[in-house]
C-alpha cells in the first residue's frame, strides 16, 4: 500500500527515518514551514529555512525515492515577534511560487493574540493572490475555540473551504470542520495530539470523506511512520480498504493537488534526483544499500 504523509517536519529527522518511511510505503510528503523549537531572531534565519525546504530537503528526500513538497508561511507562534514577522512577510512572496510549494501554511493561531490574527489574515490574502490552498494549524490550548475562530476568519475572507485543510483535529472539532466544508486532518502524535486507536474510531464514525491522517513528526517525541502504522491498525480493525486509501493517500493528494504542483505522476514512476547512478562519496546515500553483513557492529565501507 502507498501512503502520503501530508504533514511532517523532515528538517528535524534523520536519514534512518527516510529509509524507514520508504520501506513502509510512503511515496510523498509535505513539510509545512513551522518553528524549529528555538525561536528565530533574524529574518535571514527564515530565509535560509525556506530555501532549505524548497531546495536541500527535496533533494535529500529524492535520494530515498520520496517526493518532497512543502508549504510556505509564517507560523503563528513566531508571528508574535511583530517587527521580525513583518520582515518574514516580505519574504513569503519570493517562496510561495516555488516548484514544490503546495499551500500557504501552516498558519493560524497559537495563543490567539492580536498579532497572530493580523498575520493569519495577511497570509490568507497572500494565498488568494498566489492561488494556493491553505494549511491551518489549530492551537494546542483552547483548541475548540481556536478552530472555530480560524474557520470564521477564513469564511470572512471569502475562502472556499475546499481549498483549506484544518489540521490537528480531534473528536471535539471534527464535526464542525466537516459540516462547514473544510478538509479535516488528524495528527497521530503521541500524548499531545491523537493516538492511532482513536483515529480508527474517528474513521469508523465519520467515514473517509475529506478526512486526512498525518504524523506532524518533528523534533519532539513523534513517529515518522504514524501514517502507515495507523493504516495498518485500521486494516486490522476492519476498516474498509477504500477508506484507508482515502484517508492515508488520496484525500491529501486531492486537497494539495489543487495547487497544481502535486501530481501522482511525480512519484508513480519512481522519484529520482536525476537520471542517476552511484553516489558513494560524501552523500547522504552512503550505507543505503541493503546490509550484507550479519554483524550489526560492521559499518559498511
Amino acid at each position: 500500500m502507498k501512503f502520503i504523509d501530508p504533514h511532517i517536519h523532515m528538517t528535524s529527522r534523520t536519514t534512518s527515518d527516510y529509509e524507514a518511511m520508504q520501506k513502509a510505503g510512503i511515496v510523498a510528503i509535505i513539510e509545512p514551514a513551522f518553528w524549529l523549537g528555538q525561536p528565530r531572531t533574524e529574518a535571514g534565519s527564515f530565509k535560509d529555512y525556506f530555501s532549505s525546504i524548497v531546495g536541500w530537503e527535496p533533494f535529500r528526500a529524492s535520494q530515498f525515492g520520496i517526493k518532497h513538497y512543502c508549504t510556505i508561511g509564517l507560523n503563528s507562534k513566531e508571528a508574535n515577534n511583530e517587527p521580525l514577522a513583518e520582515q518574514v512577510m516580505d519574504l513569503l512572496p519570493l517562496y510561495a511560487l516555488k516548484d514544490n510549494v503546495v499551500a500557504i501554511g501552516e498558519i493560524g493561531y497559537d495563543d490567539q493574540t492580536a498579532a497572530e490574527d493580523k498575520f493569519f489574515r495577511a497570509q490568507i490574502e497572500l494565498a488568494k493572490e498566489v492561488n494556493l490552498p491553505i494549511m491551518v494549524h489549530t492551537p494546542h490550548r483552547d483548541k475548540k475555540n481556536g478552530t472555530l475562530r480560524s474557520m470564521d476568519v477564513l469564511e470572512e475572507h471569502g475562502i472556499n473551504p475546499s481549498l483549506v485543510v484544518i489540521d490537528h483535529n480531534n473528536e471535539e472539532t471534527v464535526q464542525s470542520v466537516l459540516d462547514r466544508g473544510f478538509w479535516a486532518a488528524f495528527t497521530i502524535y503521541p500524548k499531545t495530539k491523537m493516538g492511532s486507536e482513536r483515529m480508527v474510531e474517528v474513521v469508523r464514525q465519520y467515514g473517509s470523506e475529506r478526512i486526512i491522517v498525518d504524523s506532524s513528526a518533528d523534533w519532539g517525541v513523534s513517529d515518522p511512520l504514524s501514517v502507515p502504522k495507523t493504516a495498518n491498525l485500521m486494516k486490522e480493525k476492519g476498516i474498509d480498504p477504500n477508506d484507508i486509501h482515502k484517508t492515508c493517500y488520496q484525500n491529501a493528494l486531492e486537497a494539495y493537488g489543487q495547487s497544481g504542483n502535486m501530481k501522482e505522476s511525480d512519484w508513480s514512476d519512481g522519484v529520482t534526483y536525476d537520471q542517476s547512478i552511484l553516489y558513494g562519496g560524501n552523500s547522504v546515500l552512503r550505507g543505503q544499500e541493503p546490509k550484507k553483513s550479519t554483524s550489526s557492529d560492521i559499518i559498511e565501507n
Partner: protein, 291 residues
C-alpha cells in the same frame, strides 16, 4: 567589444522571440513579452511565475538560434534545455548589465532546485558572465546533484572563467560524487600538473580504504606521467576492470613518458583508439543505479 554587444542583442532578441512563438496560449505569450526586461521585484515574480505558466517540455530550436548558442558555448546541446528554462534564460539575459549581479545573487539565495539549475546553466550567456565567478564557484559547493551537474557538466562556464584552484576542486568533487567526468567541458584544455598530483593522492587514499576509483580519472594524468603514476597504471592493467585496463593503455600511449611507452610495446599492447567519450559512456552505462 562593440561587435560582441551587437551579437548578444541579436541573440537575446532571437531567444525571446523564439520563446514567445512557442507559448501557444495568447495570454501567457503576452505575459511573457510584457515581462521581458523587467527588473527588481517584478523580475523576481516573473522568473518565479515561469514555473506556473510555461510547460516543461523540450522544444526543437531553430538552426539559427542554435548557432547563436554555439557562438558562446561550442558545447551547447539543445536537448538539455526545456521551454521553461529557455524562458527563464531570456529573462536573465534581458536584465541590465551591472544591475544583474545583485539581482541574480539575490535570486540564487532564494532559489529552489530547478531555479538554481537554470541560473547556473545560464550564466555563461550573460554579457558580463565573468562577474558571476564567485556565484558559480560557490555553487560547486552544493551536494545537490542536479545543481552540481548544472555547473560542472555540459557547461563552458568553468572552462572559461574558473581559476585553476576552483577548476581542480570541481573536477575532484565530480570524481568524488561519481559524476560522469567526460561531460565536463574543457577537461584536456584546463588540465594541469597540480590536478594530476591531487588525483594521485586521491587514488592512494581510495585504494588504502579498499575502494575502487573511476577509470575516467586517469585521463587527467596523461601529460604528467612519472614513475609513481606508471606503477599505478601497471597495477590497473594487471588487476582492474577491462574498461580501466583500456584507459590505462590509452593514457600510457598518449603520454610522453618514454619508459611507460617502451613497457607498453614490450608487453605487446597496441595503442587504444577508443575516445574518452566512448569510455565515459561505457563506464557510466555499466554503473548500477542505487536506491
Amino acid at each position: 567589444m562593440i561587435d560582441q554587444g551587437i551579437t548578444n542583442t541579436k541573440f537575446k532578441d532571437m531567444l525571446s522571440q523564439f520563446c514567445s512563438r512557442q507559448l501557444t496560449d495568447p495570454s501567457i505569450r503576452d505575459w511573457f513579452t510584457g515581462k521581458i526586461g523587467e527588473t527588481g521585484s517584478a523580475f523576481f515574480l516573473a522568473f518565479g511565475m515561469v514555473n506556473k505558466k510555461v510547460p516543461r517540455e523540450s522544444t526543437p530550436l531553430d538552426a539559427e538560434l542554435i548557432e547563436q548558442f554555439k557562438g558562446t558555448d561550442p558545447a551547447f546541446n539543445p536537448d538539455l534545455w526545456t521551454l521553461d528554462q529557455l524562458c527563464r534564460l531570456a529573462f536573465l539575459m534581458h536584465l541590465p548589465v551591472g544591475a544583474n549581479s545583485k539581482l541574480i545573487s539575490t535570486l540564487l539565495g532564494a532559489a529552489d532546485m530547478r531555479e538554481q539549475v537554470v541560473i547556473y546553466k545560464s550564466l555563461q550567456y550573460l554579457d558580463n558572465a565573468e562577474d558571476f565567478v564567485l556565484n558559480a564557484v560557490d555553487g560547486i559547493r552544493t551536494n545537490m546533484i542536479d545543481v552540481f551537474d548544472a555547473i560542472a557538466l555540459n557547461n563552458s562556464y568553468p572552462r572559461k572563467f574558473f581559476s585553476e584552484e576552483a577548476w581542480n576542486q570541481m573536477v575532484l568533487k565530480a570524481i568524488f560524487m561519481e559524476r560522469p567526468v567526460f561531460k565536463i567541458v574543457g577537461l584536456d584544455e584546463r588540465n594541469n600538473p597540480k590536478l594530476s598530483s591531487i588525483l594521485y593522492d586521491f587514488v592512494h587514499e581510495r585504494w588504502a580504504a579498499h575502494r575502487p576509483v573511476t577509470p575516467e580519472l586517469w585521463r587527467m594524468t596523461t601529460n604528467y606521467l612519472n614513475d609513481a603514476l606508471f606503477d599505478d597504471l601497471k597495477k590497473v592493467i594487471e588487476t582492474d576492470t577491462d574498461i580501466a585496463k583500456t584507459v590505462a593503455i590509452k593514457v600510457i600511449s598518449e603520454s610522453n613518458f618514454t619508459p611507460a611507452q617502451n613497457w607498453l610495446q614490450d608487453q605487446g599492447f597496441s595503442p587504444s583508439d577508443t575516445t574518452w567519450e566512448e569510455i565515459g559512456h561505457e563506464v557510466w552505462s555499466s554503473a548500477k543505479p542505487q536506491g
